[in-house]
Symmetry: C2
Subunit: 492 residues, 2 copies
């Protein structure tokens, strides 16, 4: 079974809705195009009128189609197309490997203000609504595990993690081109612990680590807490870390000990690395004999709508010498209430196991068993497809609201998956000012300065679209748009 | 409610058994003494004959009493009294703050050989049998929590830990003299993570940390993985770390950044620090302005049989300036299947919270809720009393078997609580040789060289007594005694 095959359990109208989403995504049906007639659709897909109406109405409610009286359905002109894409980074700026201080303070300030000030609407997290996850099925799996092994909570767990979960993960990893045995896998407390351990396995305090720019602020915080230096490598909002810029950096700074990349749906950019870039990156790391830490927290949230994404491959799938430490998470894809991540560390596996043991010992068995039971069934793939479909709608609606409410000069990409949008404010407007003003209006955003040690992204905000789009979120985005408009106006 | 008050739920015969265990422990009834007659006991405690018979038979089965025909019950002469106590450390040896390498390799070798070779009997862990813990009650509490909050597994958890658990811990901490609010507490993945975070909060790679000698090998492994140096301070098997030796060390090595002590039931010695030593230690740390990391994983397993132990106080209870980072664990006392620990870090609290967030994010909510529900009821104190009682019996029987089966020259203390015994082999016999020979006989022991970077404890072994004593364990100890005897004989 591959991840792209629909299962029998998915209703036909959903499969059709998802098919036409892909078709529109891919551009085969462009904005303004007329949809085939109901009669044609019935004939073409051999389905009933009610099925055709069902999926058409669903796509209409999601904003993909609009019904015009007496003319049928048309592909909507999304307002988001009015927004220019985010600019590509300049590659001619030399990176600066300062041991940046203050990201702790910034993150802590962010966390503290988030906690202190009551907020009505939170666009700041990279997080989905609990109802988007299989809470009921996981709950039942947990209860079954407890009934089956009544002494589960009082018996010690296995150091590497539950064998059952590890073998389920190994089996699923085939889908991204990885041939792993359960012995190659170490379960961790989220991808965060995997990243900590990976970095400690390959580098020492004082060492320099090449990272994407902008990057996930959690990584910058980890690096600073480990006294490592972050060297930010220019990163394309479309194709991820620039391998050319990395090559230059590796020649200039021989003390780089590792590269960390998020090849799929990079946080915050949403970029997807093409296969050729992945292979180039790996060759570079092999040539310079440095570790490549692949953070693959999000690949399951990437749409399988084009040929590239349909066959998402981990960088580690090309790795023959054990150069890549693959890190992943179940926290965003399966269950935000479980702190489950995992890693396959190639030549550093023994050191990784030791560090995990010394840092937190084993993970608890119960959540692993619940996750394994769910993931071993066909339910997980079904859940992922549904989740991606819902995120598509939420992302599209959020993007459209931004295009509608934000002032001219706002720029944004619409990544083909994931739960956040990276928005460039007009006129180099400071996201700090926007953060402050929004907080006064009880709206939380993630300001761009969280995602870099430089000031290059001060005029960006990252906006969450993990919650079902509703009137409250719409009001929030309108309010945010007005704040940006007001502040941008003052700049002029 | 204090921890020393029996609750109404405990059967009377158990309360009487526990009372007479204490009396014998304290020496008020010495080996060979005649117990009061059944009639006297009935009158004295206002109980029925069957109750008196019940507790007398229990104490007999536990080895505290023996019935002599027509004369009644007598306090048994424990064979263990034949064993000399372990020697006090020499205080005139200057400590050597080398950055010892190889403890990783040693621990890893130990773990690997433990895993590879099938063992029938494992005396090597510091671990109790699952049936000694409230598995059923915790399982039910977990199921109730899942039913009450069906989306528990798909909702994010709180950064510091479950508020409910933190307030239960704060309330219980009153018993050891700590006035904490739930805001002062950070939940961690076991005491192991608390120790990692505490060390990272107060010291840098290259810094020196004063530790007990011998000490818990997990701590040595943590220090080495953090590139910190362990300075081993002579430690009394009775009263814990020598404050005199520490004072000398602090004067000699000004780069000591912290002291780590296990004041109650130190691992592996079993020592209990007297209140005066605790205060002295704290004053020293205050005077030199270094952090005092108090690892209190075991105080709940210490018997409340003498005045000192009955009022166990955390070192932190005397701490007014926030000098002490208190770390504790629920893993050994409540549930070996839960990875729950906690810390109260005084002046380092903000840094500790940041490091916890950067290292593993929050703990999962479910196990915390199950633990909190159980601990908030009277069940936890009842469980602890029962656990201590059972450990008493297991420790006494293990000690007696050692006294019986091991050759002359073997030395050992009998700590007043806990789950391990620290045994000195005769004639400086190498525990490495014993470890190898025992492994061939499928018996696992923890060799002394795991507990120090020096070779000072090579002729010790630590033996677990966490399992109900039975014929298999008895055979194992007899086999072990024969191995020690054979090897010791060869030495002569
Ligand atoms: C790129 C990336 N890696 C790792 C993480 C953290 O993963 P986990 O929650 O599994 O620790 C995040 C979460 O925001 C992320 O965006
Ligand atoms: C002194 C001491 N501290 C900490 C630990 C580990 O505690 P936890 O299992 O809660 O991580 C142990 C376990 O053996 C120990 O003996």
């Amino acid at each position: 079974m591959t991840m792209t095959q629909p299962t029998r359990h998915e209703p036909i109208y959903q499969r059709l809705a998802s098919h036409y989403r892909d078709v529109i995504h891919a551009g085969s049906l462009a904005p303004g195009d007329r949809m085939p007639s109901l009669r044609t659709l019935m004939r073409q897909h051999a389905v009933s009128l009610s099925t055709v109406l069902q999926f058409s109405r669903q796509l209409e409610s999601e904003g993909w189609l609009e019904a015009r009286p007496r003319s049928g359905y048309f592909v909507r002109h999304p307002r988001r197309s009015a927004l220019a894409r985010v600019a590509e980074p300049r590659l001619d700026v030399a990176p600066d490997p300062a041991q940046y201080v203050g990201i702790h303070a910034r993150v802590s300030e962010f966390v503290a203000r988030r906690r202190l000030q009551p907020s009505k609407i939170d666009f700041s997290a990279a997080r989905c609504a609990p109802e988007l996850y299989p809470g009921e099925a996981l709950k039942n799996a947990a209860i079954r595990a407890l009934r089956r092994q009544p002494d589960l909570l009082v018996s010690p767990s296995q150091a590497r993690g539950s064998r059952h979960l590890r073998s389920v993960l190994a089996k699923r990893a085939i889908n991204i081109g990885l041939a792993l045995s359960s012995e190659d896998i170490q379960i961790t407390n989220g991808c965060i612990e995997a990243l900590n351990i990976a970095l400690r396995a390959v580098a020492q305090p004082g060492d320099t680590i090449a990272v994407e720019s902008p990057t996930f602020y959690g990584l910058l915080q980890i690096l600073e807490s480990l006294n490592m230096r972050a060297l930010e490598i220019p990163t394309s909002p479309e194709t991820g870390m620039s391998t050319g810029a990395l090559e230059l950096a590796l020649q200039t700074y021989p003390d780089i000990k590792a590269v960390v990349v998020v090849p799929h749906l990079q946080n915050p950019l949403g970029s997807m690395m093409p296969a050729a870039h992945k292979q180039q990156l790996l060759r570079l790391c092999q040539h310079h004999d440095i570790a490549l830490i692949e953070d693959d927290s999000y690949s399951e949230l990437a749409n399988r709508s084009d040929a590239q994404a349909a066959s998402i491959r981990a960088i580690k799938s090309w790795d023959t010498g054990g150069q890549v430490i693959y890190c992943a998470s179940l926290h965003k894809t399966l269950a935000p209430g479980l702190r489950l991540g995992w890693m396959a560390a190639g030549r550093w596996q023994a050191r990784v196991e030791m560090l995990k043991y010394a840092q937190t010992r084993s993970n608890e068995e119960l959540p692993q068993l619940a996750a394994a039971e769910f993931m071993a069934s066909s339910q997980y793939d079904r859940h992922l497809r549904t989740l991606r479909g819902k995120l598509d709608v939420q992302r599209a609606k959020t993007a459209e609201a931004i295009a509608t409410y934000f002032p001219a000069g706002t720029r944004m990409n619409l990544p083909d998956g994931g739960l956040t949008l990276w928005v460039e404010l007009p006129g180099q407007l400071s996201s700090g000012a926007v953060f402050d003003a929004a907080l006064d209006a009880q709206i939380l955003v993630a300001p761009g300065w969280l995602f870099s040690n430089s000031r290059r992204f001060d005029h960006f905000v990252r906006l969450n679209c993990g919650w079902p789009y509703d009137a409250v979120l719409d009001r929030g985005l309108r309010g945010l748009g007005e704040i940006v408009g007001r502040l941008a106006h003052r700049l002029e």
